[in-house]
Symmetry: C2
Subunit: 405 residues, 2 copies
């Protein structure tokens, strides 16, 4: 027997609540007229939806700035502390955590450095729970904790939160979602869902939603750490592939005679433009030297060839050019050290990009990531908000984790 | 003022007609029960839709084969000659044309060789019109000619049918859609729309719909001619990018020290695995030698290294491995000479594919194209059917080009 169709009216209302809250969350305050124009809904429907969202505490109406003479018009604005998420970015050398409010407001951040070697899932879970306690402390009364997102520098089985491979953490096929959810439940009773995702995919999500590629339907985010990864947005949706593992641009071979890669191949893009390789290409030792120090000493006005940046820039540019030919995107956003490097390598990057097919590269922007707390950390928050944004009022009504200080 | 919403009932009916006809067109005959199961619509709705399609002449109900004992069950089947399209594949050395009926039935094909040099748009338009007259001759009375599709080995501005760049035809920024439509109108009065698309995109569409990658949500088609192109299907939709130029995998640089490419770059995949390069890599001269002759003499049982296929296979495999890391697809379909080559290079291709990340390559199939008349030619037909499949009854009612023999 087919299941009976859901009540059409409820479904339409839920979709409208979702569309309007998503818009306010991503783009900030808007007038009712703006919302009418953006959604194509009529004024009375928008009014009813806004009333529902106000009743749920998610938005408020207040006087907005106005460019025209006369009384200031009302704007509908997301209430940052109405619904909050925890987001975590697990990196090779530290754990970063943040408390993020509706609308992407950063309420609090914490960092905890850790040893590179021997950092296992057990320690990670414990640190995340401890940091959660700290982050949730002193949140305004009545806030609803609606989700938790975790960013991992590796490939993740999205449904289960199992880490398939995070080479730079030394993790291979380890469960993280299940033990983390268990530990959170022990600590918090009935906490909201934990979502675990690949760092580059999360970077793409946040830079596409509210960062350097906002408004682009097609964009590529390239994360630059010791490893290099990618997240790709195609027609406003994250490219996931059959198993959710798409976007591994760091393992695109661009020189079969290049250095051996941790993945077992040769000349992967990552071996040429990953953080350690970049430091080595400038004639320094990654064990003893930070890229920031090298860049502080470098002079963007000097020819790049004299400073060892020529080769790096050409390698960055070849990979970008390949991706531009493949995806014909509006924007390529560089994260991590690639973002810091950009001012020093613009010339060779542009020279290589000019070799992409004219139609494919037409109008493309190569830009640094723009989200201050980190693209992946903000992306983890976005994954935490997903449930609320899909069904705002139901989640607020059922949320068992209302914070009482 | 927002436009008033279209009549909901008409819209729902149109969607249902479209879904059912699309299914029958792609997958062939199905029983009413199958259609109920596939669409989730109830039995009486499916019955009404089938009746509408029968009335329009697009489908018929007839006794189907049955695996159970008892009376044969009725199946709903597309009527091949009810609606037909013309499809053309413009290649470097010849024009191929076909008349294709609903359901993908090949009713007629024609070929016309041409000189490689000096083949301009004017001659192409004239040949297409002449071949159209021939193809439409003796089509059964009452058939509706519902579309025309043209495949081009180059990048095409889809909306206008302008060819941005077809290097192997020597065409750069030339209009084709407008003069072709004008010439067709002069010949046929009020012919249906002409759609002009990139050959690899069309290959992807047809191999995904009814070829070697049928059933795959994510697949890559790689066309092998003198140039190498790609068409990518992501979550059942063709990857197009911001301007419609995505998929230029042939210009992915995989060896920066490789041969110079026509595009101005070095070591593009195309320079290593394009038809001429492959012939040269086997120690032969592309001016005097056909690949089919080389392959006829070659022995698939012999080690590939002894026959010059090792290098070619490794280059094919490196590019495929890159694309598998980027797209995490279910299938990679090789067209043209790459399809012919596959049995001779399976070993090096597999060796290189094994270097893709385990999660990304999990379950991927590398397979030859399977559409006999050619993936791009069938894809051009599919683009011709698109209007009918979107709104079957309206197109049949309004079709001004009913063929009367």
């Amino acid at each position: 027997m087919p299941t009976p169709p859901a009540d059409k009216h409820d479904q339409v209302r839920r979709n409208n609540l979702s569309r309007i809250l998503r818009h306010l969350h991503a783009n900030g305050p808007a007038s009712r007229s703006d919302l009418v124009g953006l959604t194509g809904l009529n004024r009375s429907t928008v009014g009813a939806i806004v009333t529902d969202l106000v009743d749920a505490g998610l938005v408020e109406e207040r006087a907005g700035t106005t460019s025209t003479v006369g009384r200031p018009s009302l704007v509908v604005a997301p209430v940052a502390t109405s619904a909050v998420v925890l987001s975590f970015e697990l990196r090779v050398e530290k754990l970063i955590g943040s408390l993020i409010g509706l609308g992407g407001t950063v309420l609090k951040t914490r960092e905890h450095p850790h040893m590179r070697a021997g950092y296992g899932v057990g320690i990670a879970v414990e640190q995340i729970v401890q940091m959660s306690i700290d982050l949730l402390d002193q949140v305004p009364e009545g806030s609803a904790w609606v989700g938790t997102g975790v960013s991992i520098p590796g490939s993740v089985e999205n449904a289960s939160g199992r880490v398939r491979l995070a080479p730079n953490l030394g993790w291979e096929d380890v469960p993280l979602g299940e033990p983390l959810m268990r530990a959170m439940s022990t600590q918090f009773g009935d906490p909201p869902m934990v979502t675990i995702r690949n760092d580059s995919d999360l970077g793409a999500i946040s830079e596409h939603l509210r960062g350097a590629a906002a408004g682009a339907r097609n964009m590529i985010y390239i994360s630059g750490e010791i490893g290099v990864g990618g997240g790709v947005v195609v027609d406003n949706r994250l490219l996931d592939g059959v198993g959710g593992y798409a976007g591994e641009v760091g393992h695109m071979v661009i020189d079969p005679n290049g250095p051996e890669c941790r993945c077992g191949s040769n000349g992967c893009w990552e071996t040429l433009i990953g953080l350690d390789s970049v430091i080595r290409a400038t004639g320094n030792d990654p064990e003893t030297c930070q890229l920031s120090d090298i860049l502080d000493r470098a002079d963007p006005a000097q020819p790049v060839a004299q400073q060892g940046f020529e080769t790096i820039g050409r390698s960055i540019g070849i990979g970008i050019s390949n991706l531009v030919n493949i995806f014909n995107p509006e924007a390529v956003v560089l994260g991590g050290h690639l973002s810091e490097l950009l001012p020093f390598v613009e010339q060779p990057v542009s020279a290589m990009l000019a070799r992409a097919l004219p139609a494919s590269r037409s109008g493309v922007r190569i830009v640094p990531a723009s989200i201050e707390i980190g693209s992946s950390l903000m992306g983890a928050a976005e994954s935490g908000f997903e449930g609320l944004l899909a069904d705002p009022v139901a989640v607020m009504n059922s949320s068992s984790v209302l914070i009482a200080s």
